[in-house]
């Protein structure tokens, strides 16, 4: 049977993922950061905080899912692609195969999405166990998928652009870390000073955090959805371009 071009790229990553899953350390490392935040902010600080009349845990859990899906979709793709390109040279077999650059992009992106969704599902399980008010809506699931798609694409871009593995950490510190803390995971963005808020509204995770908490679509939700779609599309096209123009 002849397979689509993206599938072997995806399968290659999934074979690695399967091996990681068999090691307990991976499960713990995927969960440890959000669980620490959940305990520290949700159960510790959260007891004395209410946001828009609701308990803090109900606010925090969707934000942690957004943050965790961002971290896992982005980090896995970025690290794997960068190491495979610069050190193991296994990325080169994709470039020398008769498949399109968008197939390579799609395979890497879907692998990133799968890992982001896996890590998010762990937080979702914890959410159901910890909060009686936690639920999944269609908007929540759509936003989660879009967020994984967007940040997996971003992972490809940084994985392709970083000149060394150390460089990926620099990108992570300047892009991922600020989003994790300021883009609405732990507190609503509208509580920030105006100038700072303008910058934060440029970041994609801010719009994920807004959209993922919506019970019904409204004007603000539609705007955030459009921003996320534009980001995701631009990242996919730019990532494909970087792969197409790859030259040693």
């Amino acid at each position: 049977m002849i397979t689509a071009g993206w599938y072997p790229v995806f399968l290659n990553e999934m074979l690695h993922f399967k091996r990681r899953l068999l090691k307990l350390g991976y499960l713990f490392s995927a969960m440890v950061v959000p669980i620490i935040y959940l305990i520290a902010f949700g159960f510790g600080l959260g007891k004395s905080v209410r946001i828009d009349g609701a308990d803090y845990l109900s606010f925090l859990l969707p934000g942690l899912v957004a943050m965790s899906s961002m971290n896992n979709s982005y980090t896995w793709v970025c690290n794997s692609l960068n190491l495979n390109r610069l050190y193991f040279k296994t990325f080169q077999i994709f470039v020398q195969a008769p498949i399109s650059s968008s197939s390579i992009m799609a395979g890497e992106m879907l692998a990133g999405m799968a890992k982001g969704l896996f890590a998010s599902s762990l937080i979702i399980i914890v959410g159901f166990l910890c909060s009686p008010y936690f639920s999944l809506s269609l908007i929540f699931i759509m936003t989660l998928l879009l967020n994984c798609f967007l940040f997996a694409n971003m992972g490809v871009i940084i994985g392709m652009r970083a000149k060394s593995h150390e460089d990926t950490a620099t990108y992570s510190n300047f892009l991922i870390m600020p989003m994790a803390f300021f883009s609405g995971t732990f507190f609503p963005v509208d509580k920030l000073p105006v100038l700072f808020k303008t910058v934060i509204y440029i970041l994609p995770l801010t719009h994920t955090s807004i959209l993922i908490r919506k019970a019904h679509m409204d004007a603000e939700g539609t705007f955030s959805l459009c921003i996320l779609i534009v980001y995701a599309t631009v990242f996919f096209i730019y990532g494909s371009k970087l792969i197409r123009e790859y030259s040693e």
Partner: protein, 277 residues
Amino acid sequence: MIEINGLTKIYGNVNAVDNITLSVRKGDVFGLLGPNGAGKTTTIKMLTALSKPDSGKCMINGFDVAIDPYEIKKHIGVVPQENNLDRELTAYENLLIYGMLHRVKDKESKISENLKMVDLWDRKDSSVSGFSGGMQRRLLLARALIPEPAVLFLDEPSIGLDPQIRRQLWDIIRKTRIEGRTVVITTHYIEEAEVLCDQVGILARGALIALDSPYNLKSSVGEYIVEHIDAQGRLIQNICKSRDDAHEIAKRQQSSVTVRKSNLEDVFIKLTGERIE
């Protein structure tokens, strides 16, 4: 089968490949011979669409690598100098992914056939990380042959291998040639170029300095070499056109002498004044 015209690649101020023009006939084993840094690997990377040339043109099977890389990739198999097997995966998984990438129809039978060819069938489910260097080189060759490529590129295929494994690899390369494939091989092993290649291009500092069959290249130098060590301990070489001339010169030497047939390294030394290794 392969036409290269004015191929050039520049890294910084260095012409890694400098205006190379050559052609390779269908079904030939073509060797690029030269020391490390001569531009062999860069040439292979440009021919296999991994590196974009700064100028010049490569045509394979009638397709321009710069314009139709997709068509080129359908017809080539590559054994790179740097081992790019996925070490975490098994031998079988490595070949399976490669077969899928190259859209091979009967992957399972090709994988089993090729793993048996390189004596690795009984290790098919073992992780590549546990393989010796020789096993990994054999697996790279088995992988490159999965899509049954019209052109097989081998970049220093026997580097670091012991003589027995190297000869086994040569047998497989000869077999692929019998099957009608064109083979392009880079090497800095003189013997490898001499025993395998129909045509040899000699590269030095990115430039092609000679191109002919191994026999003609050696004949251009002289068929016999008389070597002796002089009073200062230097190796002195005399090149002779015939065996009788060689023996005549050998008789005149007072120290012990060696008379041997010339090889491609003698050609390289004559052209550049340097040794290959």
